[in-house]
């Protein structure tokens, strides 16, 4: 086990939970606070003043200890528990993703996602052929040692889980770990809890809402070596998952289909833009098979928790003006922003952190940021 992987103490985990559940703290902010203050406890202590300094008027909504303890109890009630990024049970590949959830609710066998995985996603209104294809392919990939990850939606997702249930499958839920959605997959979800692995980023008790799905999709792609798209229309959720896969440096696979079937247009479009055209399990294995060697994949190193000297306040005040000049409600890549501002990356990051805590900044896909309108 590489030295970076360690198990948090119960007190540390409670602090992590309080920090990530606090207002305006997303994963990126979480890791920056951790790096800046050395621990979640220190960050929690510093947060109120930090937010005040960044121009916030009403107090920041911190997650209190009792609320965090209630969540842990509810998790236990639901047969689930939390794993933190950096812990041995955290999905191995997901740990390498920049905005991976600091904490995941898991139910079932977390060892599953220490094995190489492939995501299989697609249309809810899939054709019978598409569902059959997804199930058969998941079965074959499973037989070759790949864990199959999907989102437990109707159609392709459900078929992929079914095909891989005997060999190992993980479902990433958009709501809390105890949410059942859609109702028709209740039995399948129970089967995965028992024989596979359920994952959720949202707090236990959260009903899935539309905005949760794209967020969830980054976890599906993040846990896997690649994403296989079966029957996806243009502008569908599956294409969002494929885009996350590209951003995360993962492979994208797509199954071609007739141009006369609108459910195939999205997958065909992925192929047109470079996805691996996939007709058989061999097409997938040819691209990711190297990871199936008997040696375990190297565990990516989680972000350092070492203390970093924060920029001086005077420096930050000047930088804040300069960064605000270059920000607008239109998203801009952080790299681009750093170049435009001609400031050290660490200084720009600190300013963005302040702005986010103040609720004035929004992080978007592709490492982009935008002012809140």
């Amino acid at each position: 086990m590489p030295p970076a992987a360690r198990t948090l103490t119960p007190a540390e985990k409670l602090d992590w939970l309080r920090l990530i559940r606090s207002e305006n703290v997303g994963p990126i902010t979480f890791y920056q606070l951790l790096a800046r203050f050395g621990s979640a406890a220190a960050a929690l202590e510093a947060l109120p003043e930090l937010a005040r300094n960044a121009g916030r008027r009403r107090p920041l909504g911190l997650c209190g200890k009792p609320a965090a303890e209630r969540e842990l109890a509810a998790l236990e009630q639901a047969g689930a528990r939390l794993v933190a990024r950096g812990e041995p049970d955290y999905p191995a590949l997901l740990a390498a993703v920049e905005d991976a959830p600091p904490l995941l609710s898991v139910r079932g066998d977390p060892a599953l996602l220490q094995r190489p995985a492939i995501a299989v996603v697609g249309a809810r209104n899939a054709s019978a052929n598409g569902r059959r294809f997804a199930r058969d392919l998941a079965l074959q990939l499973g037989a070759q040692g790949l864990v199959v990850v999907s989102g437990l939606a109707r159609g392709i997702d459900a078929a992929a889980h079914q095909g891989a249930l005997p060999t190992g499958t993980a479902a990433v839920l958009a709501g809390g770990i105890d949410s059942v959605y859609p109702e028709e997959n209740r039995e399948l979800q129970a089967g995965i809890a028992e024989r596979g692995l359920l994952l959720a980023e949202m707090p236990v008790g959260t009903e899935p809402q539309a905005r949760h799905f794209p967020q969830r999709n980054r976890i599906i792609s993040g846990t896997a070596l690649g994403v296989l798209v079966v029957e996806a229309a243009l502008r569908s959720g599956s294409l969002i998952t494929a885009r996350f896969a590209l951003e995360q440096g993962r492979e994208v696979f797509a199954v071609p289909g007739s141009p006369l079937d609108p459910r195939c247009r999205g997958a065909n479009d992925l192929i047109r833009h470079g996805a691996v055209l996939t007709e058989t399990a061999e097409d997938v294995l040819a691209a990711v098979g190297a990871h199936l060697a008997p040696t375990a994949p190297a565990r990516p190193v989680p972000p350092a928790e070492a203390e970093a000297a924060p920029p001086a306040p005077a420096e930050l005040a000047v930088a804040l003006d300069r960064v605000l000049e270059h920000l607008s409600p239109a998203p801009v890549p952080v790299d681009e922003l750093i170049r435009q501002c001609r400031l050290p990356a660490a200084v720009v990051s600190a300013v963005l952190l302040d702005l986010e805590l103040a609720g004035r900044l929004e992080r978007q896909a592709g490492h982009q940021v935008a002012l809140v309108g």
Copy 2:
């Protein structure tokens, strides 16, 4: 009209016909003889001795004047005539292909293939959806000014011709210009003769045989800016046409389909290897649309008929041994052979010409040559 395009006199055309119909004279040999002797008449005169010198025992089967005249009469009877490479009526793009037929039988409107064309080919046992797709796409491409070329086979070919009949379509026959194949397309063939263009390389009166089809396919791709493959199985004739297109520097387009349908595996495989994934006419037009500008495409210059000083006989005798050392029944690219022999390209060409006339050499696709076993 560029100066190179000129119309042969009737006597010249008769000589061309005699030369190309003579034993062991294929298109490449034809052009080399023309370059070496300055005219078809001079080549016909020199041939017997050339073949004798190359080690041939029984006399070379020259096509006599009466046989050539009979072919011309039969052509007229069939409502067709011959056009020679380099003549204004010869298909513009085909003239640029190295092994283009020196003479083509044509029936219908030869002006058609002075316009930009696209080939649409595919499975004989195509699905109803595939045929509909081919017909609709041909109709749309025709509406955009592209002539649609195909091979008049059942299935995709016939559907493409039907779709483009009102706007312009050309069919390349595997047999003679008067052969009707398959019988079910008799009416369509008559329609194309009347409103479009029929082409054939084989002599009038030739029934199509299996070996004619690959030869024919090089003409389909050669007349067109690109080849679109709709529903083609692995190892199908359509893939041969696509391969010719690549060798000729033409674009290859393929329509994706379900991996569950074996008729789509060939087209999917083309996409996997770089063919343009094609769902709509726009996908084709985006790649070849530039050729639809109001100005006519530049007519490629046909091979020079100027005299070339032949290598000295002593030089050839030495070279013959060296070339034979490097030849075997396994095909070798001519370029490679020239490098291996360390002889001037003109000398190797002259030796290969002699060997071919002697019936000891076979030319194969991809500019390869092999000893006859």
